[in-house]
Symmetry: C2
């Protein structure tokens, strides 16, 4: 079975986004990351900042983001579903539509779960050890009051809770992916090589 859609799930700071973009470039197919957020924003009426945060992490408790969401889509409060649930439904629809449109790479947002019944997907999980991830987030996003380790642990926990809540699966469980790679050990470039190689192999 040809694998046309590649989903890249990743731990924060593991370089999964960079890897996904490079894979898409090498295969000459679109990569949906920020573009996915924009499409969800367009479809849902939610603000992109709200989607960016609440679309992958635990249900919103941040009042700033809550206010952004409400101001951008006041009708959401009237709906019987929570805003987080509405966002998940909207993300699901957008991801399914993108997959129907043709070959692409989709970064994060439970796409591995949302597209689990399609036979034409290659599901990849990128992770890394704390040391490499800490160095990477400081390099990319700078220092904050919190230590890099605390930032990573918080993000991991939130993502684990969010993923479990919406999929009833354990985040990062090997069996849910065709390939799981430690980018700290293997290196970003080699991860890209392996994914492209496997994607081409299963196309034959």
């Amino acid at each position: 079975m040809t694998k046309k859609i590649i989903t890249i799930s990743r731990a924060f700071g593991s370089g999964g986004r960079t890897i996904g973009k490079a894979v898409a470039e090498r295969l000459g197919i679109p990569c949906y990351d920020k573009e996915l957020v924009d499409k969800v924003a367009e479809e849902s009426g939610f603000h992109a900042d709200f989607i960016e945060e609440a679309g992958e992490y635990a249900p919103v408790t941040n009042s700033f983001l809550f206010n952004i969401a409400v101001s951008s889509n006041p009708m959401a409060m009237m709906h019987s579903m929570s805003m987080a649930d509405q966002l998940f439904v909207c993300q699901t629809n957008v991801i399914r539509k993108l997959a129907d449109e043709g070959p692409c790479v989709i970064i994060g947002r439970c796409a591995d779960y949302i597209l689990r019944d399609r036979k034409d997907c290659l599901h990849v999980f990128i992770h890394s050890d704390m040391e490499h991830r800490a160095a990477r987030i400081v390099e990319k996003y700078g220092q904050t009051k919190q230590t890099p380790k605390k930032r990573l642990t918080d993000k991991d926990n939130k993502r684990r809770v969010y993923y479990k809540h919406y999929t009833n699966r354990n985040w990062g469980e090997s069996q849910n992916y065709h390939l799981s790679l430690n980018s700290g050990l293997i290196g970003i470039d080699k991860c890209v090589d392996i994914i492209v190689d496997v994607a081409k192999l299963v196309e034959e």
Copy 2:
């Protein structure tokens, strides 16, 4: 850091053992699988059949195996630890000794956990989908009264419980391995290629 020791953890029927042996052959290093069982038997006095079963699955409830164990090592009953615990301690010692002796491939037996603090290990997890695994176990071990799916589910559950009990980790969690591969999709030969490739890469 050079990775000299390769641990291969695997789901039953995923071809992990075959992959491990082929990797060892390609790298010209020993592969410990049955040989590990023999060494543990020698060191512990337990019967190989008992070690084979109880050294990777949930603590023994099978009276036949229990009897084999007792008859092969009656003193074990006098010991304050359960036989399963004694076996785990013995396996731990043998695995650590083998790793100290030089480059090798070690199949299963929580070697990924036992050697977690060594920096010279490449930890690999091999799994596959139910369909490929079912076909493989029927081909290798024949049919039994139970359906292949039931046999696989039982084995998975026992291994999950055993692994959790002795490591306090979740079996198959990507973050505990450098590489996790679905052998059903990727194919046995390509899995071997990827592992050898990464092992050589991190040697440089």
